[in-house]
Amino acid sequence: MTDVVTLAHGAGGKQTSELIEKVFKKHFQNDFFTADDASVLPRPAGKIAMTTDGFIVSPQFFPGGNIGKLSICGTVNDLSCMGAKPLYMTCAFQIEEGFPIDQLEEIVSSMEKTAAEVGVKLVAGDTKVAGRGQVDHIFITTTGVGEILEGVDTSGAYARPGDAIIVTGDVGRHGATILLSRDEYGIEADVTTDCAPLWNPVEAVLRAVPEVHVIRDATRGGVGTVLYEIAHESNVGIQLNSEDIPVDPGVRGVCGMLGLEPLYLACEGRLVMFVPEEKADQVIEILKGQKYTEGAAIIGHVTEDMAGHVVMTTEIGAQTLLPEPGNELLPRIC
């Protein structure tokens, strides 16, 4: 086999089979992975949740992860937010010709490992190869199906006054990691992505506290964007305490240099949960005992007034609005 992906690998003939055999099949082995046109799956007992997401990231490899890991985590976490145990996933690759096969294999291998952590099975895939310049190295789209735990009913519209707001770890690390990986601003910091599959901690929480109101993963736009989404969808106010928001010192340093706000930087392994106040301590305790959510913290609570707004108690003890996120994040230097 050649050591880069060529247009022939996408043509459907012998080379395509070879790529599937040597790269994809090797890593996506399970009873349901199919050579037929569609995989045939047993029907779960409960309600199902289904979601899809496309992944484009530059660079494709970054400290703590790569686009493959990201593509599994993104879909696993979307399902988890609905209280759905991830069962099956499909993935579609668009690869630029000339992409090194060993890198493709590394990506696929992280997908295998990440999927195994939560027991989700990759049951079908597709590969297309595009000419040079038509794709930025590699794009991945994943689709997932999960089974919703009995008695669980979460939605962005279910936040209620009094709810405690929990974030499952420090914020903004993925965004800061990607920013540094692009090396546009000459800054170095020991920051790695927070990218992680979060079904296991979510399951632990929901089995003990099924009455969680809202779970949402903070991806693009960061935790700040999620808070505004929930404030609008549930028509409630949100009160944050700036000192309680966990931020890695390195991320804080990077943000300080570039004039950015950590609450608006992307995460890929952080959930925001809205839980009834009396259950908050129990949820925190469970999260702290789980891998990937050891740094969970209560950052605020839901209020009846100020519907649609996020109000923050600042370092000087004043109340101010957290500006609603928007626009391309440009470093604010002057």
Partner: protein
């Protein structure tokens, strides 16, 4: 732990002074965009006594950058094929017809850098490109831009130049002094210039405090300011001595004076202020984009509906401008004050009137 206790004590005391202030009504103008930004972000206005009014002055270099300057930059990119290097905030500032961001979509090469020194590195690595750095800023930033030219000369680069719109603060202090009772002077400008300007203004009866930029530093400077103000005599106090010394940075000033000379400068919304800008001296003409490329005949036209000028001078509140929040939003800014996160209109839009309304503590 002991540290936390002192911190809270200091903060609490500053807050108490500002909340309980019951002296004569006082207007305080912050002249630095970063002060404006932090004052909004921290919610400073909400904890002030109704007798204290904060006014956002013209200290955001993005906001006072003239339309013509943006048009010139776009022409350099699109007509002259130059690579534009710039601070991030300038990218969205509207010119007569478009911003650099839109021009980028039309093929202009625009690169955001952290420092002008990175523009030098970029020029070194891309000797086939003509690289222009958009030199905006006040006394704090101008030395870095001069250093870029100095380093380019040292490296023998002939493909880097500055498009200058550098401005100096004293002209602004002079121009705005009737709109305020008390200046909150920007610490980082005075780290370079020293405090002689403030002493000179004091001699004219203009009061002020130099302040730092953290929430606590701002509150402290304001608390010192209103306490002194109440005594009824003009005063000046440096509340940021850990960074600002009386003499400033002689090295920075010598560098700037070696390479640059004063010039008249147009401030967006305010107009032409005599000797309020800096440009490269003739002997550095090879590094001056206006001398190197023909930009004559470019005269920008400001959208006539925009009231940025009056907002900058404290005559209008942002929400009193007819464009505010309708034609002009951070996503589609008409005026520069809406573009920069330091801009008064942008801050007002993002934080709403909640930013100014006093609110009881929870």
């Amino acid at each position: 732990m002991a540290d936390t206790v002192t911190k809270e004590d200091t903060l609490a005391k500053a807050r108490r002074i500002l909340k309980d202030y019951d002296g004569p009504k006082v207007r305080i103008m912050e002249v630095c965009g970063t002060h404006t930004h932090e004052i909004f972000r921290q919610g400073v206005r909400r904890i002030l006594s109704p007798k204290i009014e904060m006014i956002s002055g013209p200290g955001c270099p993005v906001c006072v950058t003239d339309v013509t300057f943006i048009d010139e930059a776009i022409s350099l990119a699109l007509d002259h094929g130059c690579t534009i290097t710039t601070f991030g905030d300038l990218v969205r500032v509207p010119g007569t017809k478009k911003s650099l961001q839109i021009a980028r979509g039309e093929g202009a090469k625009v690169k955001v850098v952290y420092t002008p020194l990175d523009a030098v590195e970029y020029a070194k690595e891309h000797s086939e490109e003509q690289v222009v750095f958009l030199a905006v800023g006040f006394e704090t930033t101008t030395p870095s831009e001069c250093l870029a030219v100095e380093n380019a000369i040292k490296d023998g680069l002939i493909n880097l130049s500055l498009l200058t719109a550098n401005k100096t603060m004293p002209a602004a202090y002079e121009a705005m002094k009737d709109a305020t009772d008390l200046y909150l002077y920007p610490g980082h400008v005075h780290a370079i210039t020293g405090n002689k300007i403030c002493e000179d203004l004091l001699a004219e009866g203009v009061s002020g405090v130099v302040g730092g930029f953290t929430g606590k530093e701002i509150l402290t400077a304001l608390a010192v300011g209103v306490t002194e103000f109440q005594k009824g005599k003009p005063f000046f106090k440096n509340c940021y001595p850990r960074v600002v010394t009386g003499e400033g940075s002689p090295q920075a000033m010598a560098l700037v004076n070696k390479m640059m000379e004063p010039c008249d400068q147009i401030w967006r919304g305010i107009g032409l202020l005599k000797n309020s800008g800096m440009k490269l001296r003739e002997e550095y003409g090879a590094y001056d984009a206006r001398r190197k490329f023909d930009l004559s005949g470019i005269v920008g036209k400001q959208n006539p509906a925009c009231r940025c000028g009056q907002v900058l001078q404290g005559e209008l509140k942002p929400n009193q401008c007819p464009c505010f929040g309708t034609a002009c939003t951070p996503e589609h800014p008409v005026g520069a004050c809406m573009v920069s996160s330091e801009g008064a209109c942008s801050a007002w839009y993002l934080y709403g009137d909640l930013a100014t309304k006093p609110l009881e503590d929870k």
